[in-house]
Symmetry: D2
């Protein structure tokens, strides 16, 4: 039974014996009385069950390394330590309807190919041998490179280094797609794809960004560019900083885009890289939509709903929907970079995106 | 622990003492091992917890009538018997992430105005006095009329008859918007809106459909047309039947559209009216996306995942995502009409729509 | 040699013997000096060669009737008296890059089928037997009905009355498509199309406007609806007048639209019907884009660039691009209706649409 | 009087005295008989009056250099030798409705600011001091750089070198915009703009192509990126050549795009750079739409409607609409690059684009 609220337009029905009998009759008919739940299901503002969490790489890395010797890739499918929000355990979500995890591959190892209705992305943390074959395009990716595995694309991963392990972060919309009753999974009939001859062909074909193959006829809903190198990304941020003051809430922030449309890389997940200049501390805002952050460079802290989280390179943290958040680079001399992915494309497609800036206290939260 | 599957690419890790200790370490770090849940969260095909349900109007109507005397509109907020899928109780959903309910208003009664991030629609069942004010436009609606209350629109309802009660069906995306952590609610500062002078102004302005006000400049994501009369709808179906064989799965079926774009009426929910010709029995198909049906006219039956549901006027039933379904008009002389609403716009926006036709047994399911 | 202008940034080069010799050298190389034409080809504002023209039906009708006995349809291709702007003779244009003409068909007559890259539209003036087959859809059209023949569509016309002639107005973008070097023409291999069984099938299929066939998959750039009946059009204007004050420049004005997109009926030409209330006199404005008007109902006058044109039923007049224009209904008791077609879709697609309102003299032009 | 054609559906009316009198009557009413011009204005296929032309830089450069001392920039507005197609003299067009010219600026010279409804682009030929200020953004451009001046943008140019002249090629849609009666022109109220502090800011802000400023809100119809450096362009071609066989008609060909949409740089003109590999000879095709080519690198020849044109660096040539054309790189060891601009965006927006491949003779034209 939902809490009563004494406001006109809200439910304030008291339980009576007669009503209890009525509710029981309804239940037998697969029905119920709206007023018993109305105040709960029509909240004054979003009520995420997700909470802010900081996952320290210093804590997680030893576990990930351990996992590499505890299970084989073949037995595990993929060897991943997933990050689970205390409020979203039943969905295996890191925040909102987003999943994330740390995947490790040993030297010379490769995983078999599969595909699913869920979409995936990767952000590489360490190791030089990482590769992934997506729809036949073999991508080589290194630290801080960003790559995508769109819905329905065959994919398989591996590590062709002969000495170093690879660790990367996976991001997926599995909780979203499951909640929408739309997920599916297939293993590749041949276990492995036959990649094209040229590596990183999508980068060669679509990576210019400011020119496209004439007549390029792309009718899919995701980016034809599958990998976004760190060097290009960081250079873009530095260039942007020369001409723009940036966002008061995010500093210099750029979105990875589909170069053929300027839209988000995939229809369910977007991704950003942002740069906080030395000493920069942003103002607080909040918005619908959930975000997973990865510290790509530097150290600093974020305040999320009044809670301070201090972060260092490769730490991961999350901002639930509608949570106040602000970021600070704690270095006086070096910039800091935050990679992040989100479900903003969902919010925008469904017309559910809303944002608000903190007005009081110069735009900064009070620590709780 | 998820079920193991002995297929390459699926998880088949056995629990060991060492692993149990490892899992416990991970849990302490808000983490987990993907392979313990992978086969569950990456299912071979959609696994809705919703089940097919038929809600008989003969059963529900007496309850709805009872409610009209048991609680006041003021106390209840709105007086609604909601229909709850046994598999979705925690979300108050009728199927998937769709909510539906039967609302009753007594003669002369009116509800106070509010708005929410969730979107709503109405399908009128009985009574002549129904009105609703949406964003200042006062709509008069009668049996089998369809009306929308888009996200963020102020709305209030009432019944200006002096003798008959009004019952209509509400459809909302509340479970979806709550799951996306994006719902919000406001009561109107003046309790009631001041409606414009002309009733059904959106119908007068945008109802022609084949002409629009020159230079109409509409930048919202939902239809400017707020009410769709039954007479126009039924005539459209009869006209369509003269030129089209219709869909093998749905007979003659038309979608209510935004006349300025041809798109769905709202970005999260679409609505159809379909006509099954006398004696028509359609073939089975399935698709991602959930549907709530209301029998607007006639009687017949549907088979959903092998289960036969016999329906009569004003019965409501649901088809979960990916469930096989086919419909039959059991009258040899009269047509039957099914109103339905769905989350197909979400499936399309997020590129998650997939469908499949039943090939065997002439396209008909075997009853289970 | 263009006129010199003594404004910084404009050309004011004087001819000299040396320059004359230079110009002659350039001409031999298929070249020229920009400054000799710059002030002409970069005018301060649009410089149409089209002039306002009123074509009185009382003058034209006798000629059209004459033509019906002077040439056969077979010999003429189509029997049309075209309206030619004195400033656009070389292009056979009525105004700007728009062509128009009056076509007559004798009882029982039919024309052979052809198609062209140019797009066409029809507005019926008199006669009850008019039909046209467009892409296999046989349309029956009567007075004040509007119909389209999109680019590339096979079409043929006729008159199945056994006693009355048919006269309709043709509108085409022939001058535009020729100027763009993109026109082409084919005669139908079988001389005549085999029409579908159901007449006006596009109206039955798409005419509802506020509902569409579910899953309608239309990938062409023009409206699937080929005919727009006068009754629906006039009713839409009367409804609009109940809720809208209309445009200060055009009264109650609606655009015929593609019901699947809300866009113009064809990518090169749009069409409107407007209603001037009894006694209504609009204010003057001007815009890029050319318009051909047809008086569908009533009588009144328009002032175009200071020139008053008095019009009666079935008169045709034109407004050149960037010409000031305002309209008045000269009846104190009856409404007047103006059908018009234009090249606004071209202006909008190419981002060349601009408009300005007359501010002085209460928005009315002084007669010149 | 148009030529008669003895084909059913074409006009074949013979002049008679009666008809001559009729035509004269029509002329007095600003009218005419369609059948007297029908076969002309409805041609079997496009009938451009433009002809293929090769403008040799060896011929033009001396004239351009001469012009620099013969007229001042102030007197000329801009000092430009324009290239005029023998068939389009009245429109000052190089081909179809496209204008082009060679502009020269002396060391230290600058032109005053203006704007127009016509759109412009530049392709730099020689000189290191070229700059242009477009909407306040100061661009520095060097040889083979491409830059745009969209419709309505204030712009001014200059040369800040202290010793070398600058020559660049201008491309404009002036003939198109004039033909559409939509051109206009303003001189800047302050004669010169005040440029922003950072040079090439659009390149810094939007040049990454594969990332965009987060939340970039661009509601104009042209690219926010105003300059496209040659180095990036050439690298893109070389990368493309690694993964693609290219077009059979154009070799490796890429379109300069609006990085926020993937669309053409402006709504009326598109631009390409293409690379012909050593020894490559393409097959012939034709399409609606006109093209101006500039030889950016290398030497070779093109065959246009059977006419061979041999080209060297900085030569300019044109291909009229619907003309057969094929290109060959005559070097066995070096690649050749052709810059080109066109009116394809117009053809696509108006649904007038059509193309055809030559089937006979292995796809190669016979020389005429």
């Amino acid at each position: 039974m939902s809490v009563k609220e004494d406001v006109i337009g809200r439910s304030r029905v008291e339980d009576t014996d007669e009503l209890k009998e009525f509710y029981s009759r309804l239940e037998n008919l697969n029905a119920g009385a709206l007023w018993t739940v109305a105040n709960d299901i029509e909240p004054w503002e979003p009520q995420p069950t997700s909470v802010p969490v900081l996952w320290r790489y210093a804590d997680l890395r030893p576990q990930v390394i351990d996992s590499a010797s505890m299970v084989t890739g073949d037995d595990a499918g993929r060897r991943v330590v997933m990050l689970v929000n205390p409020g979203r355990k039943e969905l295996s979500a890191a925040v909102g309807l987003l999943y994330t995890g740390l995947q490790i591959m040993n030297p010379g190892e490769s995983m078999t190919a599969h595909r699913h209705a869920a979409s995936a992305l990767r952000f590489v943390i360490e190791g030089e041998g990482a590769w992934t074959v997506v729809n036949g395009d073999r991508l080589k990716v290194g630290p801080n490179d960003f790559a995508i595995t769109p819905r329905g694309a065959w994919h398989e991963h591996g590590n062709d280094s002969d000495r170093s392990q690879v660790i990367w972060q996976d991001g997926l919309d599995i909780p979203l797609v499951n909640t929408l009753d739309a997920n599916s999974f297939q293993v590749h009939p041949d276990q492995y794809q036959t990649p094209g001859k040229v590596q990183n062909s999508s980068l060669l074909e679509y990576g210019a960004g400011i020119l496209k193959p004439a007549g390029a006829d792309w009718n899919r809903r995701y980016s034809p560019l599958l990998a976004y190198p760190w060097e290009r990304t960081y250079e873009a941020l530095l260039n942007q900083a020369k001409v723009s003051a940036g966002s008061p809430y995010d500093g210099i922030i750029m979105e990875y885009v589909n170069p053929l449309t300027g839209g988000s890389v995939m229809p369910t997940m977007g991704a950003h890289m942002q740069l906080l200049r030395a000493g920069e501390a942003t103002r607080a805002h909040r918005h619908t939509g959930s975000v997973v952050y990865h510290v790509a460079k530097g150290h600093g802290h974020s305040v999320i709903n009044g809670q301070r989280l201090d972060w260092h390179e490769h730490d991961i943290f999350c901002v639930p929907s509608w949570a106040w958040h602000e970021h600070a680079n704690d270095s006086a001399s070096n910039d800091a970079c935050l990679f992040s992915f989100n479900d903003f494309p969902v919010m925008h497609s469904l017309d559910l995106y809303t944002e608000a800036a903190m007005e009081d206290n110069d735009g900064h939260q009070l620590l709780s």
